[in-house]
Symmetry: C2
Subunit: 272 residues, 2 copies
């Protein structure tokens, strides 16, 4: 890994690292906030971003560094897809580069590079946790498409994370336009195959009862894509612990994320 940015930020440094991803076959950038004196007691929190985002959005706009500094947490914010020449793309903002959806694509032309699930779970965690001193305690959270990624990845990997939460997640990608479009392209027409990547489906067979925190703006323009009530129903039907908070007046933006970011760090800190 090569450090390409470093800025002093609260009691730590906001860094951006670049590395050649074996899984994705391209160079990838990742934001890492490193608390001063990081050591074997330092837990690691992963944030997965939403559609159109790079590694920059969360690190420049969420204001997380203040609470990460207080709680002394290593924070990792990867890019949302492979990028660059030679990587397939689409003119739409919700497919291709910037829209990896955290799945392993099986369909051409996406299947060569779009393996964000393997990238996060197999390559990034090992790379980061080998590079930076840490306690081995991990949490994961995300926003929108990244909220889907965080919930889905935690549910598919019992024991890997000690906490999970999300802002405005796509909880049922198999049932909403964003997910139908992306899953159709990346995974093909067989809707049965999509279910392995759908939070509301995965809740049905969850092997651990990790308490899920979800914050959702009640005035989010994208509610038809998000449908938090489907997560509520699935969790109630399958006795899965969920705190779903609907926030009047809030939208889908980083103004919403920054308002409640501290609570997600405290949710993580209280779980490890």
């Amino acid at each position: 890994m090569k450090k390409i940015e470093s800025h002093r930020s609260f009691a730590g440094h906001q860094e951006v690292w670049e590395h050649q991803s074996e899984v994705l076959g391209v160079p990838m950038k990742v934001g890492v906030w490193v608390p001063d004196g990081a050591d074997h007691t330092t837990p690691v929190l992963y944030f997965l971003s939403g559609l159109t985002c790079t590694e920059q959005n969360f690190i420049t706009k969420s204001g997380f560094q203040r609470i990460a500094s207080e709680l002394k947490v290593l924070v990792v914010a990867p890019d949302t897809s492979p990028r660059g020449e030679g990587v397939p793309n689409d003119d739409a903002y919700d497919l291709g580069q910037g829209a990896g959806f955290y799945v392993n694509a099986t369909q051409a032309p996406w299947s060569k590079h779009f393996k964000m699930y393997d990238y996060i779970t197999k390559e990034l965690l090992a790379l980061v946790e080998n590079q930076f001193p840490n306690s081995g305690k991990r949490g994961i959270f995300g926003h929108s498409m990244g909220g889907h990624g965080a919930l889905m990845i935690a549910l598919k990997n019992p024991g890997m994370f000690q906490s999970v939460s999300a802002f405005s997640p796509i909880v049922a990608p198999t049932q909403v336009p964003w997910g139908e479009k992306a899953f159709g392209a990346y995974l093909g027409p067989d809707r049965e195959a999509w279910k392995a990547w759908d939070t509301c489906e995965l809740i049905k067979s969850a092997k651990e009862r990790l308490h899920i925190l979800v914050d959702q703006g009640a005035d989010d323009n994208f509610l038809p894509q998000l449908q938090p009530e489907l997560l509520k129903e699935a969790c109630e039907a399958h006795d899965h612990p969920l705190t779903l908070r609907m926030h009047s007046g809030f939208d889908h933006s980083y103004y919403f994320i920054s308002t409640f970011i501290e609570d997600h760090f405290r949710h993580f800190a209280s779980s490890i």
Copy 2:
């Protein structure tokens, strides 16, 4: 004024307003954070941004909304220059659009539109304070070119502001390359005329002793343009109260601003 953005943010709304500026002769955008229940007890804090910035940088990257919410302050963040077709510009980032330097230009082609001093002090304050309930108590602060703007404007207008502070300000524009270039273009070759817009010069004849807070990154790449020691010398020589804090490791970025933003709000709150 026309509201063009509104986002719920902590206990308030981050808004962006647009209005036709009579002083500048073009439409201008301004960020306004409005606390819930703003009334005749609500003070107003103005933030002036640095080179290349629009009204967006401070409102999306500084994280000020948390402390503004706690202290219930109306926060106003204007653009840094007139913009658009018909407004003169320069290919360089440090002249023309995005680089108004908060002066009134006297030289063609700039003199028609580049009147940021009059815009801030005469038009914007009246417009904002007519539109939003407030106590009439005001502070001003800024970053880099905007730190220069805040200090210079406060010094030239005794009684207008109850507090002033700055991050990484250009304190002596008449003595550094950024200022020499901009003042030469906007104000012409007579260096005597520049002094009316230079903080270190204005300190010599300051009519009130407003306590200045300055935070400066000790590892800021732009230190040769900023020269905080010149402000220190001027304040010491003329008995002007100054708290100058040099912060080891910090650079010129919003990571620096966000780390210390709370202190500037508390400086303001303790002055009104």
